[in-house]
C-alpha cells in the first residue's frame, strides 16, 4: 500500500494509549488504513476493538489522557492531522471531514430549530441568510424530507428518528466534505428505515463525490455498502481487503469466526448458534504473541510467542496471521 494521489485518508502505524489509574490501556496498535477517493471503507469489529478510538483520532477528538505514538501519522489529503494547529483543525472539522453519529436523538440540539442548526454550520460561507436557507432547503429535499421549506422552522422533536438521521446526513454533506465518517448511523433505527438510510448515504456520497468511512458491527450493512473492509480486534487491524474477497475468502480465524457467528449467514435453522469462546484480552496486559491466539482454534507453534506482522493474501487483501505467511 503506497499513498497514491487518489488517497483521501492514509492512517499509518497509528498507536494510541490511554493513561488510566489502573495502568496504560493500549487501545490501538500499529493501525494502517487507507481510504481512496470515492470509495466506501467499512470498519467492522466488536465492542472495545478500537473502532471509535480510531475515528476519533482522525478528527483529533481523543480524551485528554490519550497518548498518540510519535511514529503515527494520519494524513488527510496530504496534510498530517496529528501535526495540525487548533486553527487548522477547525478548518477541517465539519468542512473537509464530517461525521454522522450513532444516535440522531442526541446529535441535534433540541431547543434550536432545524433551519437555524443547518444555517449555523455554514458560518464559513460568505453568503446571505436567504441563500443559506435556500441551500438548507435544497439539502433537506435531497435527503428525502417532504415539504423542506416549511420544515426548516421545526424542532428536532417534531421529526421521527429516521427523519432526524436524514437531517444529520444533510448537515454532514452541506459543506461538501472530502470524507464522511459514519459511526453506526443506523443502530437506533428500525430495519426498514435502516435500509432506507444506508441506500440514501450511498447515493449521496456518490453524487457529492465524497469518500466514506463507515463503522459498524453489522456485517450485513458492511456487505451492502462498502467497497473495502477493515476488520479490527482488540486494538489491531487483523484483516483488510476488498469486500468480495474478504467475505468470500476471509483468511484470519477471527474474521472467519465473526462471519460464522452471524445468524443471518446461517442457512439451516439451528438452535445452537456458534460463538467465539473466551473473551477479549485485557488491553492493559496484552498477550505476548498474536492478540487472537488465546481464543484461536488454529493456533500453532509461533502464535503464542511472536506477534505476526501483516502479510499479503493478494494485492487487495492482507491479514495479520502466520497462516497467511506460511501458506
Amino acid at each position: 500500500m503506497n499513498d497514491r494521489d487518489n488517497t483521501v485518508l492514509a492512517v499509518r502505524d497509528l498507536s494510541v494509549d490511554f493513561l488510566t489509574g489502573r495502568g496504560t490501556v493500549r487501545a490501538l496498535r500499529h493501525v494502517d488504513l487507507t481510504v481512496p477517493d470515492n470509495r466506501v471503507v467499512g470498519i467492522v469489529g466488536e465492542s472495545g476493538c478500537g473502532k471509535s478510538t480510531l475515528i476519533n483520532c482522525v478528527l483529533r477528538l481523543l480524551a485528554a489522557n490519550a497518548v498518540v505514538a510519535d511514529s503515527s501519522s494520519v494524513v488527510f489529503k496530504g496534510r498530517d492531522v496529528l501535526a495540525m494547529s487548533p486553527a487548522d483543525l477547525r478548518g477541517i472539522r465539519g468542512k473537509e471531514i464530517s461525521m454522522v453519529f450513532q444516535d440522531p436523538m442526541t446529535a441535534l440540539n433540541p431547543v434550536i430549530s432545524i433551519g437555524t442548526q443547518m444555517t449555523d454550520i455554514l458560518y464559513r460561507l460568505d453568503m446571505s441568510m436567504a441563500d443559506k436557507r435556500r441551500l438548507a432547503t435544497d439539502m433537506l429535499g435531497q435527503v428525502g424530507i417532504p415539504d423542506p421549506a416549511r420544515r426548516l422552522a421545526d424542532y428536532p422533536h417534531q421529526f421521527s428518528g429516521g427523519m432526524r438521521q436524514r437531517i444529520c446526513i444533510a448537515m454532514a454533506l452541506m459543506m461538501n466534505p472530502g470524507l464522511l465518517i459514519a459511526d453506526e448511523p443506523t443502530t437506533a433505527l428500525d430495519v426498514t428505515l435502516e435500509a432506507q438510510i444506508i441506500h440514501l448515504m450511498k447515493d449521496l456520497c456518490a453524487r457529492f463525490g465524497c469518500s466514506m468511512l463507515f463503522v459498524s458491527h453489522n456485517l450485513g450493512l458492511i456487505a451492502e455498502l462498502c467497497d473495502e473492509v477493515v476488520v479490527m480486534y482488540a486494538g489491531e487491524v487483523v484483516e483488510q481487503g476488498e469486500v468480495h474477497d474478504l467475505f468470500h475468502r476471509a483468511q484470519h480465524p477471527y474474521t472467519r469466526m465473526l462471519l460464522d457467528c452471524d445468524p443471518a449467514r446461517i442457512e439451516e435453522k439451528r438452535r445452537d448458534l456458534p460463538t467465539i469462546s473466551g473473551s477479549v484480552p485485557d488491553l492493559i496486559d496484552l498477550p505476548r504473541g498474536c492478540i487472537f491466539a488465546p481464543r484461536c482454534p488454529q493456533r500453532y507453534a509461533p502464535c503464542s510467542d511472536t506477534a505476526p506482522a501483516t502479510y499479503d493474501v493478494n494485492a487487495v487483501h492482507q491479514a495479520r496471521c502466520f497462516k497467511v505467511r506460511d501458506a
Binding site: 426498514t192 453489522n218 456487505a223 445452537d272 460463538t275
Partner: protein, 337 residues
C-alpha cells in the same frame, strides 16, 4: 403440547391527553390503542416470537401479559386461570410462573444492589419462606454460567453479556414456566449474542420453559422461535410457523421486513427497497388496510376496506385482502396462531 398461555381479543389503550387538553384541542377520543385485537396461544415448552418495528406494540403486549399495563378488552388465560379481574394476592401467585427479562440489560438492574441482592430479590418480593438466599444465589449464578465471584459485584462492573446473564438468573429465580424476553440480545456483540441464546435454549431443554421472545431481530428469531407473529400498529398482521413464514411470507409487510435485512454477502446487494416511508402514528391510523400507506402492492379495495386476520393456509393467518399465494407448502407443522 398442552396450552400454557391463551390471549383472546386483547386490547390495550393509553390515554394521550387529560380532560382539559382534550377539551381545548377538541379531541373526540384522547386515547391510542397500542395493542388491538390480539389473539394467540402459547404451548408448554414452545418459543413464540413477537416481531415488529418500534411502536408496533410488541413490548406493550408483553407487559400486558405480565400485568404491568392494564388491558382494556379481551382476556388472558395462564394455565387455565383467567387473569383479568384477579385480586392482587392471586395475581401474585400467577406472577411467580411468569418472569420477564427486560430490554436494557444494565438499566434493568438497580445500580445500588449487588448481584447477590438482585438475583434473590424475587424471593423477598414473593416472601418465599425458608429460602436460603446465598445458596440460591450461587445455584442461580451457576445455572447461567457466571462465576461465584460475581456475587458481590455491582451492575456497572458487569459487561453487557454478564448483565444479561444476571437478568436471566433473576428471571429464573422463582422457577417460572414462562419467560417473556424483551429484546434479549439487543446491544450485544454477535459472538456474545450466540452465548445468551444458547443459554436460553439450554435452560428451555433442562427446565421445560416456554419463551415469548419480543424482538426486531429477524435473523435471530428465525433460529430460536417455533412460531411467530408479525405486528404492525398494534395488530397481528401475520402469524404462523417460523420456517414457513421465512420461506414464503403471505403479508406484504412481512415480505418487506424480511427484504430489509441486509444479507452479509456483497454479491447479494439490493437494487431496490421493498418498503418506503415510515410507520404511521397511532394517533392517526390509516383508513382501510392500515398498511396501505406503505404497501407496494396496494389496490383500490385496500384504501377503504380493512382486512381481518384470517386463515390463508393451514397454520397460517394473515390480514391482507391479497395475500401471496402458496404459503402452505412450508408451513404445515404446528397449530395456527
Amino acid at each position: 403440547m398442552p396450552e400454557l398461555l391463551n390471549v383472546e381479543g386483547l386490547r390495550v389503550r393509553f390515554r394521550t391527553a387529560g380532560l382539559v387538553k382534550s377539551l381545548v384541542k377538541s379531541l373526540t377520543d384522547p386515547h391510542i390503542d397500542a395493542v388491538m385485537q390480539v389473539s394467540f396461544t402459547l404451548n408448554e415448552g414452545e418459543t413464540y416470537g413477537l416481531v415488529g418495528e418500534s411502536g408496533s406494540g410488541k413490548t406493550t403486549l408483553g407487559r400486558a401479559i405480565i400485568g404491568l399495563v392494564e388491558m382494556a378488552e379481551g382476556s388472558i388465560t395462564f394455565d387455565g386461570t383467567e387473569l383479568r379481574g384477579l385480586d392482587d394476592a392471586r395475581l401474585r401467585v400467577i406472577r411467580r410462573n411468569v418472569a420477564m427479562m427486560f430490554q436494557d440489560p444494565v438499566a434493568s438492574l438497580s445500580p445500588r444492589k449487588t448481584v447477590r441482592n438482585l438475583i434473590t430479590e424475587p424471593f423477598r418480593i414473593h416472601r418465599i419462606p425458608g429460602s436460603e438466599s446465598s445458596r440460591d444465589a450461587r445455584r442461580l449464578l451457576n445455572l447461567v454460567g457466571l462465576h461465584e465471584g460475581f456475587l458481590g459485584a455491582y451492575p456497572h462492573q458487569l459487561s453487557g453479556g454478564q448483565a444479561r446473564r444476571v437478568g436471566v438468573a433473576r428471571a429464573l429465580a422463582l422457577e417460572p414456566r414462562l419467560i417473556i424476553a424483551d429484546e434479549p440480545t439487543a446491544g450485544l456483540d454477535v459472538s456474545v449474542q450466540g452465548e445468551i441464546l444458547n443459554l436460553m435454549n439450554r435452560l428451555q431443554r433442562e427446565l421445560g420453559l416456554s419463551y415469548l421472545i419480543i424482538t426486531h431481530n429477524l435473523p435471530v428469531v428465525r433460529h430460536v422461535s417455533d412460531r411467530l407473529a408479525i405486528m404492525y400498529l398494534g395488530r397481528f398482521v401475520e402469524t404462523g410457523d417460523t420456517d414457513g413464514i421465512f420461506a414464503s411470507p403471505a403479508h406484504p409487510y412481512t415480505l418487506g421486513l424480511l427484504a430489509a435485512v441486509p444479507e452479509p454477502d456483497p454479491d447479494k446487494r439490493r437494487e431496490k427497497l421493498e418498503l418506503e416511508g415510515e410507520i404511521p402514528s397511532l394517533m392517526n391510523r390509516p383508513q382501510g388496510c392500515e398498511f396501505h400507506t406503505r404497501c407496494p402492492f396496494v389496490r383500490e379495495k385496500c384504501l377503504s376496506e380493512a382486512p381481518v386476520l384470517r386463515t390463508v393456509a393451514p397454520g397460517r393467518m394473515a390480514s391482507c385482502h391479497f395475500p401471496f399465494p402458496n404459503p402452505a407448502e412450508a408451513g404445515t407443522s404446528g397449530p395456527g396462531g
